[in-house]
Subunit: 345 residues, 2 copies
DNA sequence: CCACACGCAGTAAACGTTTACGGCAGTTGA
DNA sequence: TCAACTGCCGTAAACGTTTACTGCGTGTGG
């Protein structure tokens, strides 16, 4: 682990100046003889270019950051899986930040952009505060936000359409003849919780189904919490015949509880999740779920960022990824087809 | 996005030298009056320290790389989930590499250590070649390997014990009275495939159960492939009463096929997976699985690396994480308890 | 035979920090 | 009164690159 060779070492050994070494290493026009000498010296010494010094001079780090709320969340991981290869192909390294959904941490990430350790940032905040917007406006590197930002915010933005997603789910359940469609939601003070709750109400209204407060149960976005919420719901409204869950984990909790209560899925109660994570396809019965396009959003975000890194200025763009209802056994009554997801031992 | 202020800008505005600015910013002893002036100037200008220049001078990047075969693999993600917070707490950023299990890519990552864009590396190679060992010996920064390396390799090493893991599973099935225990394995030319296959054979021998070639089926480590393998197996050996699957995805494929074939799990056929990924807890029936301690290995690796980054030299260490059999409904006949995994919407 | 262009390579400055060193002003002690 | 010390601070070098500029030697055209 001794100090490695630098271009100075090479220059000495090859008997040329450091400028020539740099030119050769960067493929700039140089006499054949010089190229040969430099290459030989570099090989013998096992030279590797120092990325830090290079970045300092060139003002490019070839690194991009991705900040998400929680590395443990499958929805973010789906984004990550798409972002990674796109950046890699373009020669960028990926720096990961997990903010634990703490606003201060997110602001911190935005702030640290000023340190210039990355060329750009993709961020998916759980909620967008005033502080976020201020930092965004002052950001010293290109940023792409995954998630909704207020109209007029001058930033590249990729968003899902969870309202339409909820509508797809409600329509689907309605078309199956369900009329007692409950919603099991997460906290209403989160962005997804709020918008999904509202969308549920609207969708019912448009179908002419009266809104019944008893059919709404608030819990949290975790499996155990979801199960508890469903247990309460069942006790209060035994005639419920469909559950729209605000994410897949809640839905899995619902399946647990329904099974324990002896209710058949989907015959007695149909269940729909949201996010269409891997878990939806793995569960039994396989879970019908509203895909909010996590993967597509990740990909789009990476591409937007690259465009801005390579091209120059342009107007901020807004990409909206349409939701998709993935119908599986938990509503359809048919066994799920095996999926072709990949995993190595 | 204009050029941000540097210590020179601050020095001018505060009427002091850049050395004083640096001293103030680093908390070195300085007269109160000077501190005040510098801080004021820095605040007004919205100064943020340039991490690249700092790294160049200090020879520390405060970044650590984690190289895994595939971002899509839940086992690696489990490691990532542990590694991330440990590094974050110590003030390190995490750079992610996905090598797609391509040896050349892994060598590349090792090589790029010479670029000094990170202070250290955690790597989990699918197999370890001569080239790996050479690069490791010559590495210009501390490396921790997750997975087995040959005896005598001078590198920090965290490994699972999949042989013992297989034995736990076989013993468990045997103790349930199963005597026709089949193994559904991945390709034998992979490290996990080979060692798990051998361990299966040994475990049976030690129990005095004769080895029956017909009970071994080779497929691949994916769900669909696993399902196909199990279908063939069932056709060939209809009296099989237990399946040991080389990973969880294969096991999920097995559940699919068994269900379609009308075999009850675990009454007719007990099923065990390996890796104990999230999917095991999500499936129905919940999957008994051998945890190879992905999470623990990740944590241990991060801690070893930090130790080496902070402390100085010490002898390379070997940490072996014991496997653990997580018994769920697919062998026990009892419904799985709800787990407390976390996920946000 | 001279002016000029051209291809190549070396000198040196710059990127934004950290830090060794030396100097200055003020205090202390002989 | 002067040497020595102390507390602060400024000058400058260094980290390892990239690159503008300059200069040298050779070939070409007038």
């Amino acid at each position: 682990m001794a100090d490695g060779p630098t271009i100075t070492t090479i220059a000495e050994r090859a008997g040329v100046s450091i400028a020539s070494v740099s030119r050769v290493l960067n493929g700039l026009p140089t006499r054949q003889e010089t190229v040969r000498k430099v290459m030989a010296a570099a090989d013998e010494l096992g030279y590797v270019r120092n990325a830090v010094a290079r970045s300092l001079k060139s003002r490019r780090t070839h690194q991009v950051a991705f900040a998400m709320a929680d590395v443990g969340n499958p929805a973010y991981l789906a984004m990550l899986r798409q972002i990674q290869p796109v950046l890699k192909a373009a020669g960028y390294r990926l720096v990961l930040h997990s903010t634990d959904a703490v606003v201060a941490d997110e602001i911190d990430v935005l702030h640290s952009l000023g340190e210039r350790y990355v060329d750009g940032l993709i961020m998916s905040p759980l909620r967008v505060t005033e502080a976020h917007l201020e930092m965004l406006a002052a950001a010293r590197a290109p940023v792409v936000i995954i998630g909704s930002v207020p109209e007029g915010t001058r930033v590249d933005n990729v968003r899902a359409d969870s309202r339409t997603g909820v509508r797809l789910a409600v329509d689907h359940l309605y078309s199956l003849g369900r009329r007692r469609i409950a919603m099991v939601n997460g906290p209403l003070d989160t962005v997804p919780g709020a918008s999904r709750g509202e969308a549920y109400r609207e969708a019912l209204r448009d179908l002419g189904v009266p809104y019944d407060e008893d059919l709404v149960q608030i819990g949290d976005f975790y499996r155990a919490e979801g199960g508890r919420a469903v247990a309460e719901l069942l006790a209060r409204v035994p005639d419920v015949d469909a559950l729209l869950c605000a994410n897949d984990l809640i839905a899995l909790g619902a399946l647990d509880v329904l099974r324990a209560a002896g209710r058949r899925v989907p015959d007695d109660v149909a269940v729909v999740g949201m996010d269409d994570t891997d878990l939806a396809a793995a569960s039994w019965p396989a879970l019908t779920s509203v895909s909010l396009g996590s993967a597509e959003r990740g990909k789009a975000a990476a591409e937007l960022l690259l465009e801005r890194l390579q091209g120059g200025d342009r107007e901020p763009r807004l990409v909206t990824v349409p939701p998709r209802l993935v119908i599986r056994a938990s509503t359809a009554g048919e066994p799920a087809e095996t999926t072709d997801e990949r995993e190595r031992a």
